[in-house]
């Protein structure tokens, strides 16, 4: 019944669209009656509507369109010139057609409208007979036909213009046509019962009627039998009638209003939304900053409200636009029943396909990508999974194998599940085959879990089929599955039990353009990892990392997880000293897992994927870039590529070669020494400068911690020591010291606190943050000078 409704919906949408166009075309045709192109187009509309409506058992509509088709066909073959009079008739018929379509939309039946008058006119125009029985008559028992004949014959006699044929001949002709028509109806019904798809082939052969040299008695406007089809007679006509009659109550008046839109426009819209999401992220960040700075201020609440509304609306908008791009996965599933039927015959197996969740929606671009993989998986299940009937019976299973194709939503993902109750995957056999084919080594095979072994079927060149059949066995298909699914950031999960069956889950993100990502930090850089590939994150200390055969691994519950440092993959310069702790992001892709060591976890964020452009495309391990709330660019990790790279990366994580790469250049003159003075007071800076100038060393000044840090980072000077005030705006001396000590390069840089704080706890804090000396104000110039000299190892000869 649902299937019928679906077809009905499609039919209505299509028909309304066609009729819409028809009006335009007809108007143009009137001014341009010779235009064959136009005529053909109009003819096709009538033809299409007729074909579809006859398939759907809308006899009144079929009846009407059939006659329209006749007229138009004549016109198109040049046998009829479209005069304004004829055009009136055609337009009238189109109005009727519209009315019928509306009725169908509202009630799912085409009753209640009298088309006979118009049909008669049409018939007259096409030079037809009095064959204008309404559909009820056609479908009615044969006994009724004589009545119709009688009337028409009578009418025919009344018409002097067409009396070039004897009443007997006329009757014979009508009889013949009626039989033909009944034959057609039978065929139609038979076809409907078979529920065939090919509508066109089911159409009555109109050529027969067109070519018949029909006498043209003009029937009077009073039609032989009034057209009053009700659902009841329809129901008796065809088995489908039940469905039709029952349906309207529930699903009446649910034609979706649709507009066809160029995909490019949607893409553009999606891009704009992407920009908006970025701006929203930025706004949220600014809001956070403002909140921090102006805590407790009244306007904050208002700002907060606006920000929440903007972010809410943006999210809704994004979802709404995403939805416009969504297609039901049924579009892909539809072709599988046929495929299974063919395969059943080809492979001599008994198989049944059960489809559910076909209404689950996916982004258009993804729907296009999953078609091929599904074909391969299902073929594979049929060929390798389901056993031949004898084997199945012997194993105590049903003779008919079942393949279940299921789609459903799971969080931000769509899961497409393909289950078969076949023989299942044999991990040991898969391993043996792979070793035999040289895809893996014996040691690798031994270390493999069953799940990993199942993943072997996706290796290029792998096939378990003993012989290459038409269906599979070339070792290409499943490889395609993996590539295509990974292309849309999907993951594959296989579960299987020998003798019971295999279950394959394809987990695919809803959309490609905007994704949830985990942002991680390494040194001073940030990277975004698609959250769909992240299984979990773990905080570990360094001694939890072991080295096996030159590669880092860790124990994660019962498993051994291989590790790779993100810094090794992206050639990140080690500026900062690595801390005792690190985070491991456990990445899962298909059946393989990898632990990615990062320095910090920044958080989860919605990101918009942007391409790096032609110039930088194809960088290994980078899937694209995104723009963050602060306007900066963050690279997105390509998890698939990362897994490949990881295999070849030698870990250097734990080989702690942070031998404080301090450039101790040989000092050849006093000015080679360089000292930074950090103080927010100009007077204090001048006092220090005056005290140190006599030494002839280079002095650099900074007004606060932040500036000092920036100067250090810029790396223009090689500082030998720093004089640091404690009380400073933006960044105080303690924080500055802590920050500086994070850098390998400045680990051993002497930091001298120069402050008026004399408390013991202040001194303690100074030591804690890494200050080597503590000078309290006021101090003598000589004292300062001597402390600096001592700390920079000033050579006496320069004095």
């Amino acid at each position: 019944m649902d299937e019928f409704q679906e077809i009905l919906q499609d039919f209505l949408i299509e028909s309304f669209e066609l009729v819409e166009k028809l009006d335009e075309d007809l108007v143009e045709l009137e001014s341009n009656p010779e235009d064959l192109e136009l005529l053909n187009g109009i003819f096709r509309v009538a033809h299409t509507v007729k074909g579809a409506s006859s398939f759907l058992n809308f006899d009144v509509l079929t009846h009407l369109t059939h006659h329209m088709e006749d007229v138009l066909n004549k016109a198109r073959h040049g046998e009829l010139l479209i005069t304004p009079d004829i055009m009136d008739v055609i337009l009238e018929s189109i109005d009727l057609m519209k009315a019928l379509l509306n009725t169908i939309r509202d009630t799912s039946t085409d009753g209640g409208i009298d088309v006979s008058a118009c049909v008669v006119k049409l018939d007259k125009v096409s030079g037809g007979t009095g064959d204008v029985q309404s559909p009820v008559v056609e479908a009615a028992p044969v006994e009724e036909t004589p009545v119709a004949e009688e009337v028409t014959a009578e009418v025919a006699e009344d018409e002097p213009d067409y009396d070039n044929m004897s009443p007997d001949d006329l009757e014979a002709e009508i009889e013949r046509l009626l039989q033909e028509r009944q034959e057609e109806d039978k065929q139609k019904r038979a076809a409907k019962i078979a529920a065939g798809e090919d509508v066109v082939s089911l159409e009555p052969d109109e050529a027969v009627e067109e070519e018949t040299p029909e006498p043209t008695p003009e029937p009077v406007a009073t039609t032989p039998v009034p057209v009053t089809p009700t659902p009841a007679p329809v129901a008796t006509q065809a088995p489908k009638g039940d469905a039709k009659a029952a349906a309207p109550a529930k699903k009446a008046a649910t034609v979706e209003q649709t507009i066809r839109v160029d995909v490019k426009r949607l893409d553009h819209l999606m891009n704009l939304i992407g920009e908006l999401v970025l701006a929203k992220n930025r706004l949220i960040k600014i809001n956070d900053d403002v909140e921090e700075r102006y805590e407790g201020e009244e306007f904050l609440e208002e700002l907060n409200q606006v920000v929440s509304i903007v972010s809410l609306v943006t999210t809704d908008l994004q979802i709404a636009v995403m939805k416009t791009r969504m297609l039901p996965i049924g579009k892909v599933f539809n072709k599988f029943p046929r495929m299974i039927r063919d395969l059943t015959r080809e492979l001599n197996k008994k198989m049944e396909l059960q489809i559910s969740g076909e209404e689950t929606e996916l982004d258009k671009s993804i729907v296009e990508e999953v078609g091929d993989p599904l074909v391969h998986i299902i073929r594979n299940s049929c060929d390798h999974g389901i056993e031949i009937p004898e084997v199945r019976v012997a194993a105590g299973k049903e003779e008919t194998g079942t393949i279940k194709l299921k789609a459903y939503n799971e969080g931000n993902q769509i899961v497409i599940q393909i289950d078969d109750d076949g023989k299942g995957l044999d991990a040991e056999m898969l391993k043996a085959k792979s070793v035999e084919k040289g895809l893996i080594t014996i040691t690798e095979a031994d270390a493999m879990s069953d799940k990993e072994a199942f993943g072997l079927i996706f290796k290029p060149g792998f096939s378990t089929a003993a012989t290459v059949t038409n269906v599979s066995g070339r070792g290409v298909g499943m490889d395609v599955v993996k590539t295509n699914i990974e292309k849309v950031n999907g993951i594959i999960d296989i579960e299987s039990e020998v003798g019971v069956g295999t279950s394959m889950k394809l987990k695919i993100p809803l959309t490609l353009a905007i994704i949830q990502a985990l942002l991680v930090g390494v040194q001073e850089e940030h990277y975004a990892i698609p959250l769909a590939s992240v299984l979990e994150t773990v905080r570990i200390s360094k001694d939890e990392i072991y080295t096996v055969e030159g590669r880092s691994v860790m124990r994660l519950r019962e498993e051994v997880l291989s590790l790779v440092h993100i810094g090794d993959i992206f050639e990140v310069e080690r500026i900062l000293d690595s801390s005792e702790h690190a985070y491991v992001v456990v990445l899962g892709l298909g059946t393989s897992k990898l632990g990615l060591i990062v320095d910090t976890l920044v958080g989860q964020e919605e990101i918009v994927i942007k391409s790096l452009g032609d110039y930088l495309k194809g960088i290994e391990g980078v899937a694209g870039a995104t723009i963050r709330g602060d306007g900066g660019v963050t690279l997105i990790v390509d998890v698939i590529a990362l897994m490949d790279i990881a295999r070849n990366v030698k870990s250097t994580v734990m080989t702690d070669n942070s031998s404080a790469a301090q450039l101790t250049l040989e000092k050849s003159k006093a000015s080679d020494y360089c000292v930074m003075i950090v103080d927010d007071s100009k007077t204090d800076r001048t006092i220090m400068r005056k005290a140190l100038e006599p030494l002839g060393i280079t002095l650099v000044e900074a007004v606060d911690g932040q500036e000092a840090l920036n100067i250090l980072k810029a790396g223009d000077h090689n500082f030998d020591a720093m004089l640091v005030d404690i009380e400073m705006p933006r960044m105080d001396g303690y924080t500055l010291a802590t920050e500086i000590k994070k850098y390998n390069r400045y680990k051993n840089l002497p930091l001298i606190a120069v402050t008026s704080r004399t408390g013991k706890s202040d001194r303690m804090r100074g030591v804690e943050s890494g200050m080597v000396e503590y000078i309290t104000k006021p101090y003598s110039a000589d004292y300062l000078s001597s402390v600096v000299q001592r700390n920079v190892n000033f050579k006496a000869e320069f004095l």
């Binding site: 920009e275 970025l278 850089e525 993959i569 992206f570 050639e571 990140v572 942007k610 391409s611 790096l612 452009g613 032609d614 110039y615 930088l616 960088i619 290994e620 391990g621 980078v622 870039a625 723009i627 306007g631 900066g632 660019v633 963050t634 690279l635 810029a714 223009d716």
Partner: protein, 165 residues
């Protein structure tokens, strides 16, 4: 746009009145800039914009001269250091450093240059071919322009934007 450029443009105006070069098709408009010791130029129409340096993001696994990517109003654009590309030692970016964003067809990239010089109008007849020593199609040099006492190397934008790694 920067004051510098305004200056250049006004200076340009004076030049124009002096040399009296007409707006005919025989004149090529270029923007000149310095990298290292040399003055280079690219057609003005190939330039999308000239901006002051701002933060960029490093990209792994690319040659040194591709310093990274940056965000130009929502577009992610590669940034190429022409000093490094031309084999000169790296130099700290200073006050005069600019990013010139150039476009050729769909290709777009930003280029780090040491400083801008001026917009140049030069007669086509004053542009000579690239020196013979530079071989064939591979050259980035479109021609050499002569103006008064200066020699300006005119670069091919399409070659600059071509990925060569």
């Amino acid at each position: 746009m920067s004051d510098k450029l305004k200056q250049i443009i006004s200076k340009q105006g004076q030049h124009e009145s002096n040399d009296g070069i007409s707006h005919s098709d025989d004149v090529v408009q270029l923007v000149g800039f310095i990298i290292g010791e040399e003055e280079y130029a690219v057609p003005i129409l190939a330039i999308q914009e000239i901006i002051k340096p701002f933060p960029w993001t490093r990209v792994p696994q690319v040659p040194k001269y591709v310093v990274g990517v940056f965000n130009m109003r929502g577009a992610v654009i590669p940034l190429i250091d022409l000093r490094l590309k031309f084999g000169l030692p790296a130099l700290k970016q200073g006050d005069e450093t600019r990013f010139i964003v150039m476009r050729y067809g769909d290709d777009i990239a930003g280029f780090v240059i040491d400083r801008l010089t001026m917009a140049i109008r030069i007669k086509k007849t004053d542009i000579g071919p690239a020196p013979d020593t530079i071989n064939g199609d591979d050259t980035m040099i479109d021609g050499v322009g002569k103006q008064e006492d200066r020699i300006i190397t005119i670069l091919k934008v399409d070659k600059l934007l071509e990925r060569d790694f």
